[in-house]
């Protein structure tokens, strides 16, 4: 391992170090009269864990839908790996290596754990043996190796969350976008998940964009945080900067300190 990677493991302040993987410029999305995302610009740097937070309805999941190509922006541009992806399909963008998870209905609920993961290997791996091997590897990583034959919907909630991450990882992302992966997890599960995210970043070399309501977790794990409110960027900076920002506190608590 080289020095930069050791750096990544220890404390770091990489806010603008790695090269830009994903760049959004003046992103906007309207649903009829409602503007879900407005004039939102940000950059995601290689190797970082970037948090995206904001109150309910702030536009976080919509932002995920935009950058992953599930819905087109009303205006603005997106580029990924120096390529303009503004009007590209979800299939195209995920093949490039930007993989997102879903806040709701994030699994193939009627299929087995093994099948859930194998589906995600299908595009990259062409032989059954290679897919099986990758599936086992991802199941092991996420603690699912003893549940391969279990139907996804009958897994305990915490493991369902892990399965959605295993699916995303099996698709071999360069950028992993996680939509509230910690919702409903117990204390020990949260800790295990955060360790997994660290491992994904440092050992697998995957850059992470994290939407999460669990503030303690976000503050602990993110290098930088973007705060959305009513679809607009309210603040951006390190966890300390953001947590002391008056506008952010007001948005969350509804009043000033």
């Amino acid at each position: 391992m080289n020095d930069t990677q050791t750096d990544t493991l220890s404390g770091y302040n990489k806010s603008s170090e790695g090269k830009i993987l994903l760049k959004a410029e003046s992103l906007e999305r309207k649903f009829g009269g409602l503007t879900a995302v407005a004039d939102f610009s940000f950059e995601l740097h290689e190797g970082e864990i970037l948090g995206l937070i904001g109150p309910n309805g702030a536009g976080k999941s919509t932002t995920f839908n935009l950058i992953s190509g599930f819905i087109p922006p009303t205006s603005g541009t997106l580029s990924f790996l120096d390529q303009n992806i503004t009007s590209k399909s979800a299939t195209y963008i995920s093949r490039m290596g930007l993989i997102r998870t879903f806040q709701h209905e994030s699994l193939l609920s009627e299929m087995s754990v093994a099948d859930n993961i194998i589906i995600a290997t299908t595009h990259r791996l062409k032989t059954a043996a290679a897919r099986q091997e990758k599936m086992r590897e991802m199941a092991k990583l996420t603690g699912l190796e003893d549940y391969l034959k279990v139907t996804a919907s009958s897994l305990p909630h915490g493991l369902q969350r892990m399965l959605s991450i295993a699916i995303a990882l099996a698709a071999e992302p360069k950028v992993l976008c996680l939509d509230e992966p910690l919702t409903g997890l117990q204390g020990s599960e949260v800790k295990a998940a955060l360790d997994l995210f660290e491992m994904i970043r440092s050992e697998l070399g995957i850059t992470i964009l994290l939407v999460e309501h669990n503030m303690r977790a976000v503050m602990r794990i993110c290098d930088r945080i973007l705060v959305l409110n009513h679809g607009r960027l309210l603040a951006a900076g390190t966890p300390e900067e953001v947590s002391q920002n008056d506008l952010v506190i007001e948005a969350y608590l509804g009043h000033k300190k």
């Binding site: 992953s68 599930f70 979800a90 299939t91 995920s94 093949r95 993989i99 997102r100 998870t101 879903f102 209905e105 994030s106 699994l107 193939l108 609920s109 009627e110 299929m111 099948d115 859930n116 194998i118 589906i119 995600a120 299908t122 595009h123 990259r124 059954a128 897919r131 699916i167 995303a168 099996a170 698709a171």
Partner: protein, 311 residues
């Protein structure tokens, strides 16, 4: 492979038995019934194949008809040889279905169902209005060559059985898994780099190619075809086979087609009331045995096992 799959081995034995029966039985009526059973099973299995991606494809009937008319045109108007005329059916059905799928599979559920229904009726109207295709009275004179005549029933059954085994293999492959994933939640395959629309079209094309070949076999089996043979009702019957037998496994529609085809031989005497019977069977099956006969078997097995372990 067969050792680990006794069910498949049994099915292969049944198919071989049916082919031998066609070769050596003296009674053409019973041989005809066996061909009908296989043809209806193939119709039901192709309908179910598109159900794998969650779509009820009434146009199964249309592509069945397109296959039959293709073979009829190739053999009677163009004078093509037997096997070429037969093979033209799946090719044309496949090509037209890829176009049909490309345009329509962006819709789903009730929308796709209605479009596939409309398509079926439009295609049928085209037959009735086209003089070259015999209009309302259809086409006549599709005969296998003299030297093959004695073997034709065995050939027909072999082809139909091959379709069943082929679709079974397709479902068991990774492609089948992907189709089921699309039905379950298509956002997931899309989010991991799969081209969901393209895969849906592929599923439809595979099924339509298969059912086109069934249509080709039908043209030679019947020697006469007419537009009225290819209404949406063909798909409704196929759906009845699927629902009676059970949708969960490919043998479901095969069992359903077998039972209803054999029962149909007695019901012909009811004349127009026959259809009421089929309607009643679909409703009854949906209400009383949602998983069909196959589902009943699975439940029975699970029930006895639970009985032993628990209460």
């Amino acid at each position: 492979m067969l050792k680990s799959n006794p069910g498949l081995a049994l099915c292969i034995l049944i198919a071989i038995g049916a082919i031998c029966f066609a070769l050596f039985s003296g009674d053409p009526y019973y041989v005809q019934v066996v061909i009908w059973v296989f043809a209806n099973a193939a119709l039901a299995v192709t309908l179910r194949f598109v159900l794998l991606i969650g779509e009820l494809n009434i146009a199964t009937a249309a592509f069945f008809g397109i296959g039959a008319y293709t073979t009829a045109v190739a053999s009677t108007i163009l004078g093509w040889p037997f096997f070429i005329s037969l093979l033209a059916a799946p090719v044309i059905a496949g090509v037209i279905s890829s176009l049909f799928g490309w345009i329509t599979l962006r819709t789903k559920g009730p929308y796709f169902l209605l479009i596939s229904f409309a398509f079926t009726e439009i295609v049928r109207l085209i037959y009735t209005k086209t003089e070259a295709l015999g209009g309302n009275s259809g086409m006549i004179g599709m005969f296998p060559p003299m030297e093959l005549d004695a073997y034709f029933p065995a050939i027909a059954i072999s082809i139909l059985a091959a379709i069943l085994f082929g679709l079974y293999a397709a479902e068991r492959s990774n492609l089948g898994r992907v189709f089921k994933a699309i039905k379950n939640n298509e956002d997931i395959p899309r989010s991991v780099g799969l081209n969901v629309i393209g895969l849906k079209i592929l599923c439809l094309v595979i099924a339509s190619t298969a059912v086109g070949l069934v249509g080709g076999v039908h043209a030679y089996t019947n020697s006469v075809i007419a537009p009225a043979d290819f209404t949406y009702f063909v798909a409704v019957l196929a759906l009845a086979y699927v629902k009676i037998g059970g949708e969960g496994h490919i043998v479901g529609p095969i069992i359903g087609a077998t039972i209803l085809t054999l029962a149909g031989q007695f019901l012909h005497s009811f004349g127009p009331y026959e259809n009421i019977f089929y309607g009643a069977i679909i409703i009854g099956a949906l209400l009383l045995v949602p998983g069909g006969i196959v589902g009943l078997g699975v439940r029975f097995k699970a029930g006895t096992l639970m009985g032993r372990a628990g209460r």
